[in-house]
């Protein structure tokens, strides 16, 4: 699993404060720790920085490249900020996060990727919004995103398609479709485009205590359909366990076996079955309930585990 570490994100109060103080040590430490925890790239989301982008984007790139050699993912809607960051990159091939199928972004951002030889994350989203159906998202990739890359000769190996994870709390019907979109996108083109998702979006607006469980179960499902790249929290040890168990087909303990079984079922186009779980074990029972909300079988509620 190629993890793009998500922890340098302006939504975090600590990041906000550190940025206000231009605290180099904070960002260097957070970058180093993410790489040590297994992140293969570092996402940098400091927002659009409408006023100070010309200073902030080069500053953060320089700061982080001081301590790590991995690719940086420039995560912003500010195209000028993206370019300011790209000009400063001296190490690994960067990632632009992101374009969508909205005309204005699709016009500008791929050209930047081309000019600076960056990888490019492209979201299956049009101006009208995100379609629910898996097929509609795949069609955006085939009919709009990929043709645009071909038009400007962006090498296909630089394209990463993100079919957009949405939260189970409020967009529940999207969750099973996203799984199918990940499955199908791998056959959408030859060579197959890379696919990445923002995993933790699945638990946005979910009470904090349930978020990691929902992320893990969804991850097992997505690994079942072949997901190999995601923007995620590399410090989540239980999540890293799930990745390792599924990648190595390790079924040596009951939880490992359960997560592998989920991945297997989803891989085969089946649904996890109650008998796959030892429901007398509270942890497995919680995992079973989580599969049911993620597959939109049972309506989500914040206290769904009490149901």
């Amino acid at each position: 699993m190629y993890i793009i570490g998500e922890n340098i994100h302006i939504i975090s109060e600590k990041v906000k404060e550190a940025l206000a103080n231009r605290d180099r040590e904070f960002f260097m430490d957070l970058a180093v720790r993410q790489v040590e925890a297994g992140a293969k790239a570092i996402d940098i989301n400091l927002g659009p920085r409408k006023k100070d982008w010309a200073e902030v984007f080069p500053w953060i790139v320089e700061t982080i490249e001081t301590v790590v050699d991995v690719p940086l993912s420039i995560d912003t809607t500010n195209v000028d900020g993206m370019e300011a960051a790209l000009k400063k990159i001296t190490k690994a091939q960067p990632i632009l996060n992101s374009t969508s199928a909205e005309p204005e972004r699709l016009e500008k951002v791929p050209l930047l990727a081309k000019k600076y030889n960056a990888k490019l994350i492209a979201l299956t989203m049009r101006s009208e919004g995100i379609p629910v159906e898996a097929d509609a998202r795949v069609n955006i990739a085939i009919e709009t995103l990929i043709p645009r890359m071909m038009e400007i000769d962006l090498p296909m190996e630089n394209l990463i398609i993100d079919p957009l994870v949405l939260t189970v709390s409020g967009c529940q019907q999207y969750c099973p479709h996203l799984i199918e979109a990940v499955r199908t996108l791998q056959y959408a083109w030859d060579p197959a485009p890379m696919i990445s998702v923002g995993l933790s979006n699945v638990s946005n607006a979910v009470p904090n205590e349930n978020r990691p469980l929902i992320n893990r179960v969804y991850l097992a499902m997505l690994m079942g359909v072949g997901l190999q790249m995601m923007i995620a929290n590399p410090f989540d040890e239980k999540q890293n366990d799930v990745i390792r168990w599924i990648e190595t087909k390790d079924t040596s303990n009951p939880l490992a076996a359960v997560y592998n079984k989920i991945a297997e079922r989803i891989c085969a186009g089946e649904e996890p079955q109650m008998e796959d779980f030892d429901l007398s074990d509270p942890e497995q029972s919680a995992i079973w309930k989580t599969t049911q909300i993620l597959l939109n079988k049972v309506i989500y509620a914040d206290s769904y585990l009490m149901n």
């Binding site: 309506i299 989500y300 914040d302 206290s303 149901n307």
Partner: protein, 314 residues
């Protein structure tokens, strides 16, 4: 040519809930109302019988409201000044049960007195709503629940921000609760879980998913109801409560129903339009799974009653 109608067999059922208690069960009601108990979408008689078809509640208030449409004043007349008389008239009008809505002006004494006078004037099962302000609701509903112990009233309205006190007093005094959430399946289920988790028996909870009126977001409302109902029939225990909705309140808020002046002539006759608005709002909700519709105008009650009758026979 014979046509085979495809039938669904649902694993889940809508929970049976009884409102009101007769003297045999520790109350004073002359009749009770039973909801739910069926295993099909509304009026799909070919799949399964709809054991308890939807019922009609008429909304009355503890004081004559000053913000209701003149058409409603015209319909009810002087009885609006006295909840007991209003209740009696509503029963004669054909209500299956009554809603008594309290107001912020009511003191505890006023409120308890209003509830008791309604219970004396009419033998119908009763739903009591607080004025809709958390503190005031709790202040009024607790003494009412205690003063009417065993009547199996429905107390409302429980919402996400304020349900504990109402649920506790309903549990202690043998009443039911109405659980309201703002047009959202997740929140609706969540509130049911929270109320059940307090120990409230599930057969004493009504879900109020809120709906909007015809032309004012009703499609969101009935989509939520449909989704809750499908989940219930698929076996999700936390969505299986019968649903109560308030098309009277929703419809009479709209300009089309409320106002007769300063509107386009093409809108036609005011009274006809207003009653159509309430009736059509109610019927759309009944078709999407409402078990109790709370109405305001006597003519709407008559029409909805007739329509339910036809749907039951169809």
């Amino acid at each position: 040519m014979p046509i085979e109608i495809p039938k669904d067999k649902w694993p889940g059922s809508i929970r049976t809930v009884t409102i009101g208690a007769t003297s045999a069960d520790g109350g004073t009601r002359s009749k009770t109302v039973t909801l739910g108990g069926y295993t099909t979408l509304p009026f799909m008689h070919f799949e399964a019988p709809m054991s308890n078809p939807p019922v009609i509640a008429i909304e009355i208030k503890s004081r004559k409201p000053d913000d209701w449409s003149p058409l409603l004043f015209e319909a009810w007349g002087d009885v609006m000044n006295d909840p007991a008389q209003w209740a009696k008239k509503a029963e004669e009008t054909g209500a299956d049960l009554l809603v008594l809505a309290l107001t912020v002006e009511d003191s505890v004494e006023d409120a308890v007195k209003a509830v008791k006078s309604v219970l004396s004037a009419s033998g119908l099962p009763l739903i009591v709503w607080g004025p809709g302000q958390a503190e005031k609701d709790n202040e009024l509903l607790v003494p009412i629940a205690e003063a009417t112990k065993g009547e199996r009233l429905v107390l409302g309205i429980c919402e996400d921000k304020n349900y504990r006190t109402i649920v506790a007093t309903a549990m202690a005094n043998g009443h039911l609760v109405q659980a309201r959430t703002p047009m959202d399946v997740n929140l609706s289920k969540q509130l049911n879980i929270l109320i059940s988790d307090m120990g409230m028996p599930k057969d004493r909870i009504l879900m109020d998913p809120t709906t909007g009126a015809l032309g004012y977001g009703i499609e969101y409302g009935y989509s939520v109801m449909e989704r809750l109902r499908l989940a219930a029939l698929q076996g999700d225990a936390m969505t299986q409560s019968p649903m109560i909705v308030t098309p009277g309140f929703e419809a009479w808020k709209t300009k089309e129903a409320k106002v007769g002046e300063g509107v386009p002539e093409a809108w036609g006759d005011w009274k006809a339009r207003a009653i159509n608005w309430e009736t059509l709002t109610a019927m759309a909700l009944i078709e999407s799974g409402a078990d109790v519709v709370v109405l305001r105008h006597p003519e709407s009650v008559r029409r909805v009653r007739e329509a339910i009758g036809e749907l039951v026979m169809a």
